[in-house]
Structure formats: structure tokens, C-alpha cells
């Protein structure tokens, strides 16, 4: 496959809707923020509930608590065991989903909207949200499975590089913590830790409820009210402190028996609320976000055949997330490829994009906007992002306008101000670190 830029998906997540997506918004009496799109095209319903309960809230010595708690929600609740819960969802053809990242922990449900199926699956969905039991033996089993997954990740150079990269940027706290913790920290966790975490972080006042599909506004209101009424009340409060940019860049090489070296380079980038969001987003599309339209893939792959994939992205989160530039190439070529990637960033920051590049980027982004919201699944993801990051309700309506308004000068200035090519940290995993 010529282009497969998985990371690109992160960026797609934060964009807009063509005329026709009408978002209804309200707040439940417990303070949960609700985002609803009524759509009867397909007899199904998607519901998602998100909480600020991602791994960045972990204490370093209990790293993995956020993830394990999330993994345990459907493993025993309201008097039902793990198998009964899975059977009951399956019996009505419902699909339970979980999302977990550094900021968020979320649970989602896709169900048929016919009365019987919908009532059964929603009632079960609320059981796992409201009455998780965290049974001791099941917790031990799921913890062992996560630890096995962590060991498996050690064999994958990309995973090793990713962890080392976040650690280099953020240190052993917040976004620097591995999302699933470590074997050592996981083994310290007790059932009471999970229960306390749930009570503290899965609160109605922090919850974001997103709904799209075949129900009426009245039904959606009732459903959101029920979901929020059964959650622990109040809000978790207290934001963790903002990450500090390290004063110096680091370069870390890690030995791995892989045939390729995975090269990651970057620095702390921007938060979701950043006023430079659009200039940086559009600028990065040209630098390394736009696939074959981007300089990074052009220089590393098209001109030199160094790598299958080469990209850059900003990962905007609640607090400033990284700017990440990545590629993977055979070990003997790693230094050459890194040099090209570095020069590409430096040139872009020094000169900014050309008029032609900006026009091409805008044409792609603006023209491609309808593709971002052409399914319920995608609109649901936008509702979740808008709710979680408290973006304006008009976010989708304004998106095209915001992209079109970005100027060459804005991009050049934003990159100059925000990206110092001399301060990029580098992680290389593969070959012999010497």
C-alpha cells in the first residue's frame, strides 16, 4: 500500500460538519455535558460516555491504574459476572467499545434502535457505567493480560520508540507515563485503588455524553439523564500541572534486534485550546501531515526511497501534546534518514510553506471536509472531541472557514515561535545502540 499514515487519523479527529449535522447540546442536572445528533437513516444508535480519566492522571508509583480501571468496567457489574455481561450484549447484537488515551477514558455502545434490543443493551451499558464491581480474581487476570501485552510490545521497535519518546519529552509523569503502566507499577495495584479511582474520576459533573442515531430528542434527554444520575456525583477537580518543556534536547538510542530503526523526533507542541491551532494544523499538513502532498514524505520516500512511511503530526490534547516526526528505515540508513528529516523541519521553520503549497493544502482540507463527517461513527467522534475539549458548538460549521483564513505569514510565524529545530529530541530504536 503506498500511503498508510495511521497517525494521520489523530488529526482528522479534530475537524467539522457540512450543512446537515445539527448538534443539540444540553447539560444534565448532575452537570454532564450532552451532545446529540438525531439521525434516522439507519435503525441504530451510538452512545459514548467519556471521562477525564486517562493515564496522565496516574500517580507515577501507581501508573496503570487508570488503564486497568477502565479495562475492568465491563468485567463484573451490578451482580453480573464478566461472561454474563458479554453474553447479554451479544444476545442483542450490541457492540461495546472502550477508548483510552492519555487524557480520556471512555465507553461506547452501538446498538440496534429497535425497542427490545435498545432497552436491553442500554440498561446493561448503564450497569457497567454505574455499578462496576472490580472482582479481585478477575482484576488479577486482566492485569496479567495487560502485563503480557506490555512484554509483547517490547518485541515491537515502534512501541519501544513511542514510549521512549514520551518519556524524553515529559519525564516520568503526566503524558510521559506509559498508558498501560509498567509490570512493576501494575503489580502494586489493589482492588480498593480501582474502586477509589472509579469513584473519583468517573463523575457525572465531568462526563461527556455523545449520542447519534435513531432516537428522538425526548428519548435522548431521558437517556442522558439516566446515565448521569447513576454516576458518582460532582467533579474530580484540580487539573494536574502543565508540563514543562525540557531546556535541552535529548538523543536516545536503544538497541533492538529489528531490521529497521524507528526514528522519532519532536518536542512539546500544542494543547487543543491553542490559539495557533489552525496555523499549526494547516502548516503541518504541508510539513508532514498530508501524505504524498507533504514535504516529509516527499523528501524521505519519494526522493530517496528511505522509508515506507514518514510523517509529522501535532497531537493536541488537554495540555500541550507533542509535535512528532517519525519514520522507519533499515538500520544502516537511520542516520541519513534522520538527517533528511531534520533538514526538512529546519527548512520549513526557516522559510515556511510556499503559496502553492498552502493553496494545495487548503484545497485538500476544505474539499475533503465532507468526507470527515460522512458516517455516524465519524460524527460521534467529533461530538466526543467537541464535548471533551469544550470546543465551540459551531466547531464543525466554522472549520472550513478557519482553514481558509490561515495565511502564509501566520504559519511561518507560528512555526518560528513554536518549533525550535535545535531543540528537537530524538529517539532511535533498532540496531546496535553502541
Amino acid at each position: 500500500m503506498p500511503i498508510k499514515l495511521i497517525h494521520f487519523l489523530f488529526l482528522l479527529l479534530c475537524a467539522p460538519a457540512f450543512a446537515g449535522v445539527t448538534i443539540q447540546h444540553w447539560t444534565t442536572s448532575q452537570g454532564a455535558r450532552v451532545y446529540f445528533v438525531e439521525n434516522h437513516d439507519i435503525p441504530m444508535l451510538d452512545v459514548a460516555v467519556d471521562f477525564p480519566a486517562g493515564s496522565r492522571f496516574d500517580r507515577p508509583e501507581k501508573n496503570g491504574l487508570a488503564r486497568l480501571t477502565h479495562a475492568m468496567l465491563d468485567q463484573g457489574a451490578g451482580g453480573l459476572n464478566d461472561i454474563q455481561i458479554a453474553q447479554k450484549f451479544a444476545d442483542v447484537g450490541a457492540m461495546l467499545g472502550g477508548t483510552f488515551d492519555r487524557d480520556r477514558a471512555g465507553v461506547s455502545l452501538r446498538t440496534l434502535s429497535s425497542r427490545q434490543e435498545r432497552d436491553a443493551s442500554l440498561s446493561l451499558f448503564m450497569t457497567i457505567l454505574h455499578k462496576p464491581e472490580f472482582p479481585q480474581l478477575v482484576m488479577q487476570r486482566e492485569r496479567a493480560r495487560i502485563i503480557a501485552g506490555l512484554r509483547e510490545e517490547e518485541s515491537r521497535p515502534g512501541e519501544v520508540a513511542d514510549k521512549a519518546f514520551y518519556l524524553a519529552l515529559y519525564g516520568s509523569q503526566g503524558y510521559g507515563l506509559p498508558e498501560s503502566g509498567t509490570a512493576g507499577s501494575l503489580l502494586k495495584l489493589k482492588r480498593d485503588d480501582l474502586r477509589a479511582w472509579y469513584k473519583n474520576r468517573y463523575r457525572a459533573g465531568d462526563a461527556v455524553i455523545a449520542l447519534i442515531g435513531d432516537i428522538s430528542r425526548g428519548e435522548a434527554e431521558q437517556l442522558a439523564a439516566q446515565i448521569s444520575a447513576g454516576l458518582p456525583p460532582g467533579t474530580a477537580g484540580q487539573e494536574a500541572s502543565s508540563p514543562k518543556a525540557p531546556g535541552a534536547s535529548t538523543e536516545k538510542r536503544i538497541t533492538h534486534p529489528s531490521t529497521q530503526s524507528h526514528v522519532l523526533m519532536g518536542m512539546i507542541g500544542m494543547a487543543r485550546s491553542d490559539p495557533d491551532y489552525f496555523p499549526l494544523y494547516v502548516g503541518n499538513h504541508i510539513l508532514g501531515g498530508g501524505g504524498f502532498d507533504s514535504r516529509m514524505l516527499g523528501e524521505v520516500r519519494q526522493k530517496r526511497g528511505y522509508a515506507y512511511s514518514a510523517y509529522s503530526y501535532f497531537l493536541p490534547m488537554a495540555q500541550p501534546g507533542p509535535l512528532l516526526i517519525g519514520l522507519q528505515t533499515k538500520n544502516s540508513q537511520a542516520d541519513d534518514a534522520l538527517k533528511v528529516a531534520r533538514e526538512t523541519v529546519s527548512a520549513f521553520v526557516a522559510e515556511g510553506p510556499t503559496e502553492a503549497e498552502l493553496t494545495q493544502a487548503k484545497n485538500n482540507l476544505v474539499g475533503g471536509f465532507p468526507l470527515r463527517i460522512d458516517s455516524n461513527k465519524e460524527v460521534l467522534d467529533y461530538l466526543r472531541a467537541i464535548g471533551f475539549y469544550q470546543l465551540p458548538l459551531s466547531y464543525l460549521d466554522d472549520w472550513v472557514k478557519n482553514v481558509e483564513a490561515v495565511t502564509l505569514v501566520q504559519i511561518r510565524e507560528a512555526f518560528k515561535r513554536r518549533v525550535d529545530p535545535a531543540k528537537l529530541s530524538v529517539v532511535i530504536v533498532g540496531g546496535d545502540a553502541k
Binding site: 500500500m1 440496534l112 534536547s249 504524498f292 494545495q360 545502540a433
Partner: protein, 451 residues
């Protein structure tokens, strides 16, 4: 693992056919159109009936290499311009190669479809395949192989097992090709491949989305109509000889956890009306691994805790033969041999005791729901049509599949489990090698000040 194929069989749309148009142009290009007016967008997929199974020894991977080269320019649209023009139209595009087909696709606002047709028709007939572009792109493909296969222990296991499970059938060769073949591939190999298979009468154009069939047909005639048909080479069946007993290999690769992959030769779907085993095997896959409470998860992961992961799937919708897979990663303190025994025991239990109606209905409930959910993606709907077209199966299978699956009985599932005998089985076990296999030196953190 080829899990995608299995899912395709499960979720197919019932009310679909009413809005499907299926015509063949004079030059043999088949055009299939699925209307879906939920959003002002469309997807165009061009399916060539040429995949890795059509390759010869010595040039394995050439189908996929050609797929890469298809982006490298024609006289009218020079290297790099294909992607630029699709991007300028606000489109997304990509391509993929598998054992049976090579597929090129674009997703666009509906009024931009002419861009896709014009570009796609141009490269169907006018690809340049220059030596210099090839020299660079073959390096990219080797990097892709390193990334997807060489450095991924489970991929290596799959590749090795297929090369043993099949003796005669070309499914024994990896889609991306053996590294040695890639290193020795010449531009002429790609040219030969292109001139052999890239022709309107070896392709199906599938369009799904907010479109009017008449307009799509006229547009297809305008852009693809002038391309001449070719005489296609005959295709040999290359049938696999009957298996003569279990095969077993050990695969050593850097890793931390062992892994087992088991593959049984089973029938694939050929005649949707007469065949019954493929439907039963599909349901058997669901009983074993169709949801979080299915037998493997329930018994091996949750209750007995022999495995941290366990799975099963039926891969029966192919031009070539079918296969039934089971796989798993043992839990800490458990051996691969324990897991192998446990996986087989689950099969044997179904073969001797059958499955309950409750279990059967649970799997069927998911078939029915998946049939509704898949309507959320026009891309997926187009994929299903393209696949049926390439396999020469009737498009109304979209309508009949759910009924076929719903009609499978508990006894048929039991018989399907009995089919999975040791004589049909090939097994690969991953023997993880130390990650420090490279000349061992301690990891060093280099810290330097930037300014």
C-alpha cells in the same frame, strides 16, 4: 491474519440490491453502482483481478510492486501528480494488493468523481514504468516488507505457516514477496505484469455514494470506454493436493511471548446455493470467537486462564482455497503445548456435544446486527460488491447471505467442527528469541545540549 475476509461474510446488507446497478461496457469493464444518499460523497474503487496468486516463482511480490508503480506517472500525469490532483480535489486515495486482487480507490465529494475516473483510466493504459522510478520504489517496498513482516513476529509466523500449509497453490507465497525476489526484481518484471493484467476486461469499477447511476455509466464510458480490451492469459487452477497428515513447524524470531497458529484446509465458498459447509464454518467461527463471551474467550482466557489471547476465524471467500484458523498466546506459566491441547479440546467438544440453541442464536443476532451496522460505511459497502465481483459470485448474495447464515443448524456446526481433523492441520509455533540477539551492548542515553 486474514480476519477481514471473515467479517465480510458476516455483514452484508439486505435492502441493498434495490439500489444496485450492474453493467458491463463493450470493452469488458464491469461497472457496479451502489446508491447511498446519506452524505454528498462517493467512493470509487477499481478492482483488478490480479493478485499475488497470479504471480510466478522468482517474481513474488510483483503485483504489489506494480501497485506502487501505478502512482509513478504516465505521460499525461507525471510522477507524483496522480496523488496531487486527487488531493487538490479534496480526495483521499490509496490502494491495496491481496492474494486475489489489486484495488485502487478514491474517496471524494460526489461532484469530483470525474477526476478519479480520468486519472484511473489514464493509468490503466498509459503507465510509464521508468527505470529510475522503479529503482527508488523497490527500496520503499523492501522497507515496507521490513516493517510489516521482518520486524513483526506474528507476521513471520503466518508467512512461514502458509509456505508449508500449501504445497502447490500459490497462496503459499507472501503477498509482499520474498525479500530475495524483491532484491532481484527488474523493471521489466513490473512491465510484464502490467501488460498481462491491466485491461478493462480484467477489472471491475465499483462506485458507492450519493450518485446517479446514469451519470456514472456515461462517465465510465467516456473515460474507460476508449481503452481496448486484451486477451487475458488462461488461469490454471493450481489445486492443492489432498493433505496427507499434520504439518508442524517452529519459527524462531525475536520476541517475548510464544504464539501458536493453526490452519486447517477447508472448502471455500463456490456455489452459494449448493454449498452448505462454508456457512456452517462461518458460524463455527462465531461460536468460537464471535464475541467477548464466545467459547475461546470464555473458556481459555476467562475461566481456565490458559491464554491471554485466543482466536478463531474462517477464511472462505477467496478465489483460492479456504482455511480455518485458530491461534493463541499462552498465559504466563502455561506452555504452548497446553494451549494447543486446549484449543483442540474446544473443537472436539463442539464436534462431540454440538452447540446450544442459545449460543447459535447469539451468533446469529450478531450477523443480523452487523448487517445493519455496515450501512454506516459506503466504503465497506463498495468493498463487499467488489469482492463478490472478483470472485464471480452473484451480487444478490448481499441479500441472501444473512438468510443463509440464519438457516445454519446446530448439527451443521457440529459437522463443521468434525471437518477440522488433524490430517488437514498445519501448525506453527513461535519460539521467541532474546531481544538482545544483536551484538549485546548496554543501552546508552546520549544527552547533549542543543545550543
Amino acid at each position: 491474519m486474514q480476519l477481514v475476509k471473515a467479517l465480510l461474510l458476516m455483514g452484508i446488507s439486505a435492502p441493498a440490491l434495490a439500489t444496485i446497478t450492474d453493467v458491463t461496457l463493450d470493452n469488458g469493464l464491469r461497472v457496479i453502482i451502489k446508491e447511498d444518499h446519506r452524505a454528498p460523497v462517493a467512493v470509487s474503487q477499481l478492482w483488478y483481478k490480479a493478485g499475488s496468486m497470479d504471480e510466478f516463482n522468482g517474481t513474488t511480490g510483483v503485483a504489489h510492486v506494480l501497485e506502487h508503480m501505478m502512482f509513478k506517472g504516465t505521460e499525461k500525469v507525471p510522477d507524483g501528480q496522480f496523488s496531487k490532483r486527487v488531493a487538490a480535489a479534496g480526495g483521499r486515495e490509496n490502494a491495496f494488493t491481496n492474494r486475489d486482487t489489486t484495488v485502487y480507490f478514491q474517496q471524494l465529494q460526489k461532484d469530483k468523481l470525474p477526476v478519479a475516473f480520468e486519472l484511473e483510466a489514464d493509468r490503466m493504459a498509459n503507465l510509464q514504468l521508468k527505470d529510475e522510478a522503479f529503482a527508488k520504489e523497490i527500496q520503499v517496498v523492501m522497507e515496507e516488507r521490513r516493517m510489516r513482516t521482518e520486524d513483526n513476529p506474528h507476521s513471520i509466523v503466518y508467512e512461514q505457516l502458509m509456505s508449508v500449509a500449501y504445497q502447490a497453490h500459490p497462496y503459499r507465497r507472501p503477498i509482499i514477496g520474498w525479500m530475495d525476489d524483491l532484491e532481484n526484481m527488474a523493471p521489466q518484471d513490473a512491465r510484464d505484469w502490467y501488460s498481462r493484467w491491466y485491461a478493462p476486461n480484467n477489472a471491475t469499477l465499483v462506485v458507492a455514494g450519493d450518485v446517479k447511476p446514469d451519470e456514472i455509466i456515461s462517465l465510465a464510458k467516456k473515460e474507460f470506454g476508449p481503452i481496448a480490451k486484451k486477451t487475458l492469459p488462461s488461469r490454471k487452477p493450481q489445486d492443492e493436493p489432498a493433505p496427507r497428515g499434520e504439518k508442524r513447524i517452529t519459527v524462531k524470531a525475536p520476541g517475548k511471548l510464544p504464539f501458536i497458529l493453526m490452519a486447517w484446509h477447508v472448502p471455500g465458498l463456490r456455489d452459494p446455493e449448493k454449498d452448505s459447509q462454508p456457512w456452517a464454518l462461518q458460524i463455527l467461527g462465531g461460536v468460537l470467537d464471535g464475541n467477548d463471551s464466545a467459547r475461546l474467550k470464555k473458556s481459555l482466557v476467562k475461566e481456565k486462564r490458559i491464554a491471554v489471547e485466543a482466536g478463531a476465524s474462517y477464511d472462505g471467500l477467496n478465489r483460492g482455497p479456504g482455511m480455518f484458523y485458530m491461534e493463541g498466546t499462552p498465559a504466563e506459566g502455561k506452555k504452548v503445548a497446553d494451549l494447543e491441547k486446549a484449543l483442540k479440546a474446544e473443537l472436539n467438544r463442539i464436534a462431540s456435544e454440538g452447540v446450544s440453541e442459545t449460543e447459535l442464536n447469539r451468533v446469529k443476532a450478531q450477523v443480523i446486527a452487523a448487517d445493519v451496522y455496515q450501512r454506516d460505511s459506503i466504503f465497506y459497502q463498495a468493498m463487499q460488491l467488489g469482492e463478490l465481483a472478483v470472485l464471480g459470485l452473484p451480487l444478490d448474495l448481499l441479500n441472501t447471505r444473512v438468510e443463509k447464515l440464519k438457516s445454519v443448524t446446530a448439527e451443521q456446526v457440529r459437522q463443521a467442527a468434525k471437518l477440522l481433523s488433524d490430517d488437514r492441520l498445519s501448525i506453527a509455533v513461535l519460539d521467541p528469541q532474546p531481544l538482545e540477539a544483536a551484538p549485546r551492548k548496554t543501552t546508552v542515553t546520549g544527552m547533549r545540549h542543543a545550543n
